[in-house]
């Protein structure tokens, strides 16, 4: 039993503490948590965020008294707070990402902040986050890509395992209780890609956070469950991934950390990741050559194979469609010199001057742009290879640039200025008090020294 995958993962979570972290973990987690708080605060400006908050209002009623940082009654059940929080976090598709794992940060942050563990210090939050993140990545690696190919949404199905690990850490569950909590979360795992493109996609993130909180609290309340949920025939990995791709996924647990290698991506632009490299290229050329839209006669994008596949809206009419339209984001980058949450309102997408620029784009996939994997057998749309963008000007110049790694990816991490700008954008989109919100940003930069994270969050939004 002690050698089972489930037991090894539980032991890692229970026995690891921040003293075991290599350098760099803490800084990475601080950046991730700040980013996540921003996107959660922004979430109410999207349809899924609006609806999940209306649902929460309806089931909580108005008991009066204190509210939490999301504006929900302080007495709301933790599992409900987690559901709402992480649905908000994924509502704009602006939260972090890790290839193969999905979008863990909102799930982890939401689960931990939903628990009745107060006062919660920044140190404990960071510790549980890093351990939960690693657990999430390891289980995702265990099931492997074949899980995703079957139609499951890894963010949702596997996110619960990370959330339960982080929650267990904060609740001080022992290894037996955590194995039980893993067993429970194995019976909660769900979320299928068929729901992509609907509000149920962000709900998946909320469900993963809820599942983690629920499973950890049920284990704490004395529930029993299988102690070896991940292992063997008709265990989780068998049922959800035919045994998985990487049975050795736990082998170097504690020796390598996904937070450092490959490291998370923080999204710079609130739209499909496949658009990020062409946006970077257009903004770069625009800045380097002081271009205005009037100077441009054509924008030629040569993309890696599969790199344009998700960008299905060539004549977008709504902000949501605009997020999956290369024509639109390129036009907006040329016109506005930036891509922000404000770029994805219905009005912004329908501006006449935008419509005039959209036909200038000529985008094609070209296997030359993905030399290491020309058929994209093993690549996602937003990574691998490069985009080559050429802008043709009215005076006959051809300006070309190439982008391999988008801004926000581990190779080109967001600067603190980028992070501040993103956070401010999030506050604006949600109609929040900017001064107070930016004070929260500054306070969270000192997360490791905070003694009561909830109090800090509440002071910013009260």
């Amino acid at each position: 039993m002690t050698d089972s995958l489930t037991a090894r993962l539980a032991d890692f979570v229970v026995e690891t503490s921040r003293e075991d972290f290599p350098d760099g973990i803490e800084d990475t987690v601080v950046r991730l948590i700040i980013d996540t708080v921003g996107v959660i605060l922004a979430g109410r400006s999207g349809g899924a965020g609006e609806n999940i908050l209306r649902y929460a209002d309806a089931v909580c009623g108005d008991p009066g008294g204190r509210t939490n940082w999301l504006g929900m009654p302080a007495s709301a059940p933790p599992e409900l707070v987690a559901l709402v929080s992480s649905t908000l976090g994924h509502a704009l598709d602006f939260d972090d990402e890790l290839a193969g794992t999905g979008h863990p940060a909102s799930i982890l942050t939401s689960a931990m902040l939903a628990l009745p563990v107060r006062p919660l210090s920044g140190e404990r939050l960071i510790e549980a986050f890093a351990i939960g993140y690693e657990a999430n990545v390891r289980v995702a690696h265990l099931v492997g890509h074949r899980h995703y190919r079957k139609g499951w949404h890894t963010t949702s199905t596997i996110g619960g395992f990370g959330a339960v690990a982080a929650a267990a850490k904060l609740l001080n569950l022992d290894a037996t209780q955590l194995r039980t909590a893993f067993g429970i979360v194995g019976s909660l795992a769900s979320g299928i890609q068929r729901n992509f493109g609907s509000m149920t996609k962000p709900l998946h993130s909320g469900l993963a956070a809820r599942n983690g909180v629920l499973a950890a609290q049920l284990a704490a309340a004395g529930f029993t469950a299988a102690q070896d949920i991940l292992d063997g025939p008709r265990g989780f990995v068998d049922i959800y991934a035919d045994g998985g791709d990487h049975p050795d996924a736990l082998d170097d647990l504690g020796r390598s950390w996904a937070l450092l290698d490959p490291g998370p991506t923080l999204k710079k632009y609130p739209c499909c990741y496949a658009t990020h490299r062409p946006i970077d290229a257009v903004l770069r050329l625009r800045a380097e050559h002081n271009l205005t839209p009037a100077d441009v006669v054509a924008v030629i994008d040569r993309a890696p194979t599969f790199g344009l596949t998700p960008l299905i809206h060539h004549d977008p009419k709504t902000g949501l469609q605009g997020k999956f339209s290369l024509e639109y984001v390129v036009a907006a980058a040329l016109l506005d010199g930036e891509i922000t949450l404000g770029s994805f309102t219905d009005e912004a997408v329908n501006r006449p001057e935008i419509r005039a620029l959209m036909p200038l784009l000529d985008a094609k996939e070209d296997p030359r742009c993905r030399p290491e994997d020309p058929t994209a057998a093993d690549s996602s749309a937003g990574t691998g290879g490069f985009h080559e963008v050429t802008i043709r000007t009215t005076d006959g110049r051809e300006l070309t640039t190439r982008v391999e790694y988008p801004s926000g990816s581990p190779k080109h991490p967001l600067s603190w200025d980028d992070s501040r700008a993103k956070f401010r954008d999030c506050l604006r989109a949600a109609g929040r008090d900017e001064a107070r919100g930016m004070a929260l940003f500054d306070a969270l930069c000192g997360l490791p020294d905070l003694t009561d994270v909830h109090a800090t969050l509440e002071s910013a939004v009260a």
Partner: protein
């Protein structure tokens, strides 16, 4: 004729509020009575205790309780989860072979929101619709789903609960479709968790999923339009490619005619004894043979049971030591029934299992699987472990006499529904186990047998509300 999702959503939306006749009302009343009993009894189980402990730990500050024992101020999905867990905690709720245990899930979901008063006729209507969707989708997802390791009660039960709550709320077709889409991203439940408290939790999760999906859809949450249809949709993924969409073919006829609703045919099997259904026929045959000889248990020299092949599959414990194991033990259930004159919830405690007299009697019980016991399907390819063929028992007394008895239909099955006295006996047993006054049984039965005349079911059940609140000092953590 559109896709499966279209048709199911239309089925729910157009039948919502439909008035069903007496036969349907009586069938629903029978399983509602049974579900109320097992939910109440669940408070006397470990899983039920843990579920109530969790519910109290997340509830608001109100001290008010609901009839099933949980706090009044829980959000409806958590109320549904708690009640649904209580319902399955003793493995004593009804069963629809192939579809799991729908009734207690449906009742838990339909009564979850105390702010929505539910009349008897409204409950009957929503219940029949939810039960139908559960039965149909269980067929549509096919048997490979269960063989793969999922627990149908949880996975497919979620859609039955979704349909029932949508019908109760009177959602229109697009909203029902949205609710099904959301539910399609909510369903889990692994058999690996059988034998632990997470098995009854599955029943609670199904109820909770239904309430959550329907209310999110009601509040405008969108989802895939055709969650059941095509590649990488729900049925494809969860059936492992072995879906049987034809199981939904005559749904439209059903809306018109209405005489083949699953609640009537095949209908639920209500459990008479709180143990595995596979033990029932041998238990009853042994008791009949004992009665014929008129001998006390200590005069029994041998009990020889012949059962259809497959019966013993789930009955893994020849010499159980705990109450949970005893529920899945042929020697124990037969011996305890002979010793005690029947099986009640009291037969399944660790102490009862350890009694020397019952241990001694277990030694003379023998079981053999015999193809002769299921002539129509000797290998049991198309039969569940508890049905088909017959069970023969030969009971030999120490004085040399012997008697033989044969039981064909399981007691509590649609062919042999519980009699009113048996129904009353079970409810009384459940009330006692749940810490309620057993004398309430008659009043509960009087109200629920005329379910179609109840104005507000939650109100009608307030007589069951526990009078003493368990002190919160027992909370761990």
């Amino acid at each position: 004729m559109g896709g499966i999702t279209d048709r199911l959503a239309e089925f729910v939306a157009t039948n919502a509020g439909r008035q069903f006749g007496e036969e349907h009302a009586a069938a629903v009343a029978a399983v509602v009575i049974d579900s109320v009993g097992v939910i109440v009894a669940g408070a006397g189980s470990d899983a039920g205790t843990a579920a109530l402990r969790y519910a109290r730990s997340v509830a608001g500050s109100s001290a008010e309780l609901r009839w099933w024992g949980g706090p009044a101020d829980l959000p409806p999905p958590i109320a549904a989860m708690t009640a649904g867990t209580l319902a399955h905690a003793l493995d004593f709720d009804d069963a629809l072979p192939g579809a799991g245990h729908p009734s207690a899930i449906l009742l838990s979901a339909l009564l979850a929101d105390r702010h929505i008063p539910v009349s008897g006729p409204a409950l009957i209507s929503a219940f029949v619709i939810g039960y139908e969707v559960n039965a149909r989708l269980a067929k549509a997802v096919g048997h490979r789903h269960y063989l793969h390791g999922w627990h149908t009660t949880a996975t497919i039960g979620s859609f039955g609960a979704t349909a029932a709550v949508c019908a109760l709320l009177g959602l229109d077709q697009p909203a029902v479709q949205a609710a099904f889409g959301i539910a399609g991203s909510l369903t889990g439940g692994l058999q690996r968790n059988f034998g632990t408290m997470t098995k009854p939790l599955h029943s609670g999760l199904a109820a909770s999923n239904g309430v959550l999906a329907a209310s999110l859809a009601r509040h405008g949450m969108t989802s895939a339009e055709a969650i059941f249809d095509g590649p990488r949709a729900y049925l494809d993924i969860y059936s492992l490619g072995a879906a049987r969409p034809e199981a939904l073919d005559d749904l439209d006829d059903l809306s018109k005619a209405g005489d083949r609703w699953a609640i009537i045919s095949p209908g639920s099997t209500v459990k008479k004894y709180p143990c595995a259904l596979e033990t029932y026929r041998a238990v009853e045959a042994a008791m009949r043979a004992q009665a014929e000889l008129g001998v006390p248990a200590e005069q029994v020299a041998a009990v020889e049971c012949a059962v259809p092949p497959g019966t013993m599959g789930p009955l893994r414990y020849d010499r159980p030591t705990t109450e949970l194991e005893a529920k899945f033990s042929m020697p124990y259930t037969v011996a305890a029934a002979l010793l005690d004159g029947g099986l009640t919830l009291g037969s399944f405690t660790d102490a009862a299992v350890g009694r020397p007299a019952v241990r001694a009697l277990m030694e003379v019980v023998s079981v053999r699987e015999d193809v002769a016991c299921r002539p129509e399907d000797p290998e049991g390819r198309n039969s569940s472990a508890s049905s088909g063929g017959f069970v023969d028992v030969v009971l030999r007394a120490r004085d040399g006499r012997s008697a033989r008895a044969r039981v064909v239909e399981v007691s509590g099955s649609p062919a042999r529904p519980l009699t009113e006295p048996e129904q009353r006996t079970k409810l009384t047993d459940c009330l006692r186990t749940g810490g309620r006054d057993p004398a309430l049984a008659d009043e509960v039965l009087a109200r629920l047998r005329r379910l179609d005349q109840v104005d507000d079911l939650d109100q009608a059940l307030t007589i069951l509300t526990p009078t003493t609140v368990t002190p919160t000092s027992e909370e761990p953590q």
